[in-house]
Symmetry: C2
Subunit: 193 residues, 2 copies
């Protein structure tokens, strides 16, 4: 969300929540599943990263192309990131996090890794040596790079040099840098409390 | 997709694919991950159910409210269905399908079922006794009901009477009936081949 705000040059305020607050009634009124992020603008409250980024992208220049067909394809890549690429990545992360002590972990982890690699093989083949997923940088790239970055430290991404280059290209964007620095500042403050 | 077409009254042609064809180059050109559905309209080709339904809904009356804020909330429910509710449902289905013979299946299945129930608890609490997720029927309900129907036969849905009623309300829509009958006709023809 920070990255999307920075790409379109929209100022925003951040309200931080504790893990406890995420599950309490006031936050549930904004997010029925008790997660983050949420988005508020006057009377409007939204949840789901994809919906929020799309909402910002549709109302401000910088994240979606002007051409109607190119716009629909950029939105397709947002859904592809969240519905097709992210689920096996999350499943693998959850296994690493929650099933490390289970008797089956050692046998099951390579199966999950193979599912992730299956999707990355296809994505990498599609991207080829293009800079971005479809023409210029769009909300589709923003969402895909956000999802791919969840694999940092897994040792998997390194086998896909063009996906690494895609991520690096996105991270080199000034808007990404500003969002990253602002997010980092939150953790620095939090850990010095 | 059929259901979305029927809701907005848009005529469409269907092109069926074999499992083999899904993974071959001509289809990969439409869908980099070799899945279905895809959508073609003149020069435009899209993939991802969510993106296709949103594309149809944005261009034809019947699936999104006119009010801009209500529209953004309906889109939020589309993303919630696909990004928050569907992944644990798919994960459970995949375990049932692919891990039935594994030594860990009996221990792991209840964990997966609990994840699904966690999401359904929250969704059910949010829905309460409302007819639809946010005001009138929208693409958000269409997507959520499509996702929830994946649990048919699991014995889980029955513990959530208001979610069952939500599904039944959606299935009672004439557009759903037409889409269902047309889809069923494909299987009847296919199995009589």
């Amino acid at each position: 969300m920070r990255w999307a705000f920075e790409e379109v040059g929209l100022p925003y305020d951040v309200r931080l929540l504790s893990f406890g607050e995420m599950k309490e009634a006031p936050h549930r009124a904004l997010h029925p599943f008790g997660q983050i992020p949420t988005y508020e603008d006057g009377d409007l409250a939204l949840f789901e990263s994809g919906a929020i980024v799309l909402h910002i992208a549709e109302r401000h220049a910088g994240l979606l192309p002007d051409d109607a067909n190119a716009r629909a394809r950029a939105v397709t890549w947002m859904f592809a990131a969240l519905s097709t690429v992210e689920p096996p990545i999350v499943e693998r992360s959850m296994a690493v996090l929650l099933e490390r002590e289970k008797s089956w972990h050692e046998e099951r982890l390579p199966i999950l890794e193979q599912r992730v690699r299956g999707r990355l093989d296809e994505l990498s083949k599609y991207l080829g040596d293009a800079d971005w997923l479809d023409g210029d940088f769009s909300a589709g790239d923003l969402m895909m790079v956000t999802v791919l970055r969840r694999l940092t430290g897994s040792g998997i991404l390194e086998d896909y040099p063009n996906l690494c280059a895609h991520i690096a290209r996105a991270e080199a964007r000034p808007a990404y840098g500003r969002a990253f620095d602002d997010q980092l500042a939150v953790f620095v403050v939090a850990s010095s409390d």
